[in-house]
Symmetry: C2
Subunit: 390 residues, 2 copies
């Protein structure tokens, strides 16, 4: 389990982060997001359920601070050297009294960082309110600057090496959707479809193995189709049912999403009309995406089609996607929606996600896309129309 990329790749990423820190006049950056840890150092383990941080400075190599029993993962999965890995003891894990991040804060103080200008991530899953407060209490003379998403924005434009991994992930996603098409049928339990999907995501039928995706397979069938993120059940699929499938593939922790809709025989005119409008909207989006175009302009292209058909959708229609652990594969940066002024750049990877959750049914259609030098490429590959089976 060597690091996913060579050291030069991580060095380039570190340079990007340091430049972003300099722009914000930050001496230190404390990241609590395992997605950012992986991107910046390669660190890869299911250890983020106890708090861990990566500390970036300008003239010192990044430091990983995490639980003692997980320090081994840092040796195995990163290019870091021994002095870059600072475990905290086991007896402060999930215990009232000393918080692990109070210990980590002590390490930072020992490194002479009290009094510095320290940027931190304020809105991440795996560094809690108490974790941040414990760090801050240990360095009371530091200036703590909310610099959330600083690393996330560095991640928005992928390297060519990352794009290659995204292609593998998208390939898995496409194969997984085909597996779902081949497997789903009236009478099959939802959980049995998910079992087939998971096995295909991870073991795969090819040489490329996969990871669990950051969101689990989402099956929108029956009443659950009216909500966006239901969990599967053991109910059998029914003849005549409309089933939206939001699936994905993941490789080296990089995720590619792919959503499609299956009709198990029959199907209402409303479904097929809506699907036609959505597909036309998707084509308008793809025709608009290219470097220099703003996220809101891309959304506008979608909205224009929707307006023609008298349809409404008030949620965003896409977001940056890439390396991620659970629970979300979105990068929390660019969103395709009104008011997002971000300009597209080559090598951005964006999940264009068109979910229509109606009063008593729903459908989805998505592509994981790569912004190219002069347009956009769909990394996922699957016919877009409603797949009618039976």
């Amino acid at each position: 389990m060597p690091p996913a990329f060579p050291k030069a790749e991580y060095d380039a990423r570190l340079a990007k982060v340091r430049a972003a820190m300099a722009e914000r006049n930050l001496d230190v950056y404390v990241s609590g997001d395992p997605n950012n840890h992986n991107w910046l150092t390669g660190y890869d383990a299911w250890s983020f359920y106890t708090p861990q941080i990566v500390v970036v400075q300008h003239d010192v190599d990044p430091i990983w601070i995490g639980r003692k029993m997980d320090a081994g993962a840092a040796w195995l999965t990163t290019h870091m050297t021994e002095d870059q890995v600072r475990p905290y003891p086991e007896d402060c894990v999930q215990q009232t009294g000393t918080h692990p991040m109070a210990v980590a804060g002590g390490y930072l103080a020992d490194m002479g960082l009290d009094g510095k200008r320290i940027g931190f991530e304020s809105d991440v899953y795996h560094l809690s309110y108490k974790a941040v407060a414990s760090l801050q209490a240990a360095l009371p003379n530091a200036t703590w600057v909310d610099a959330d998403l600083l690393i996330n924005w560095c991640r928005a434009v992928k390297s060519d090496a990352e794009v290659a991994v995204m292609r593998e992930a998208a390939g898995i996603a496409s194969r997984v959707m085909q597996k779902a098409y081949d497997t789903i049928e009236p009478g099959l339990r939802q959980c049995d479809l998910v079992a087939a999907i998971l096995a295909e995501q991870v073991g795969g039928s090819m040489n490329v193995s996969g990871d669990l995706t950051s969101l689990p397979p989402l099956i929108l069938a029956g009443e659950a189709a009216t909500t966006a993120h239901p969990m599967w059940t053991d109910a059998p699929f029914e003849a005549g049912q409309t089933v939206a499938l939001e699936l994905a593939g993941a490789h080296k922790r990089y995720n590619a999403g792919l959503a499609r809709t299956v009709q198990l025989g029959g199907g209402t005119q409303e479904l097929f009309d809506t699907a036609k409008a959505v597909e036309e909207g998707l084509e308008a989006v793809l025709a608009t995406m290219r470097p220099g175009v703003t996220a809101h302009s891309v959304h506008r292209a979608w909205q224009d089609v929707l307006d023609q058909y008298g349809l409404t959708k008030d949620s965003r229609i896409g977001y940056g996607i890439g390396v991620a652990y659970t629970p979300d594969w979105g990068e929390h940066t660019i969103s395709l929606r009104p008011n997002d002024e971000t300009e597209l750049e080559p090598n951005m990877t964006i999940h264009v996600m068109l979910g229509m959750w109606m009063d008593d049914w729903g459908m989805e259609m998505s592509e994981t896309t790569l912004v190219t030098d002069d347009g956009v490429e769909c990394l996922t590959n699957m016919p877009r129309g409603v797949y009618v089976k039976g």
Copy 2:
């Protein structure tokens, strides 16, 4: 997808929480932990990647506040009525500017809660520093009390209905381990073993379907065996390899963990000696566990055996387990370790987890247990010795 339990069950849980709030003199409790939301209301969706809270008061029904596109899940999976569900608009999701919890804080203020004594969860995965700060800023006259784990402690003793679900989860875990035993062999890729495990966890071979477990399957083989939470690779298993498997089953979001060790032919005397000591330690633990015994006494029984064999382990040897989403199935309450004064009570469910991560190999042995009226019962069911295959 009706709620997992009848309304009376949730009413009883709510009464427990209100009593705990009264003990702390809290008018209001704000929970950001989806595990607690599920336990208290039944709410079940993969929506916790955007912030959501459940607000408990003494004389008003609990309120769910979350993303608009996920409100449907509240109708489907809980007994809550329309006025208990308060969605926030889509345009504040993952966007700089208005934080969803600033909007939620506004809802709380409108409910007249500014000036109240409000307990909150300070150390949970899905309510960030910024989320808590946004809530607090919206109710500046409230007294905000760090009451982390208040609901978690209410969850520690399971109802009989929950125990029945834990039995199903443990049954899945046991079947999954058998599936792993049947499947693993030299030459098989780790990812292919995981594919078989996931399919068995979710689809199952019986009538009971499963969920994804809160931690993924952990495969400790080769160099990765020296660290606690590695991710699987596509490397093939090797003849002579020692492989620790930390697996689980989940049903209705309740998790049961089960770890065992497989030897793919051969095996060192050190392994078998260590396994014998660990099994003896496990038996000592199980012989000690009963209502009224403290967590540290249980740990002492383990330590006494370890001392006899000259072995050391500095991490805890067990923790409360139950309903949980990713990334952790532990309840963050009782831990079997020195200084934990918690007394065991009937219907606690505890994952006794004995992982020995040595310098260049590792082994694991665990059971998910139920504290009974006069002792303990293993819910998981699988011979404990190292499973030698080939």
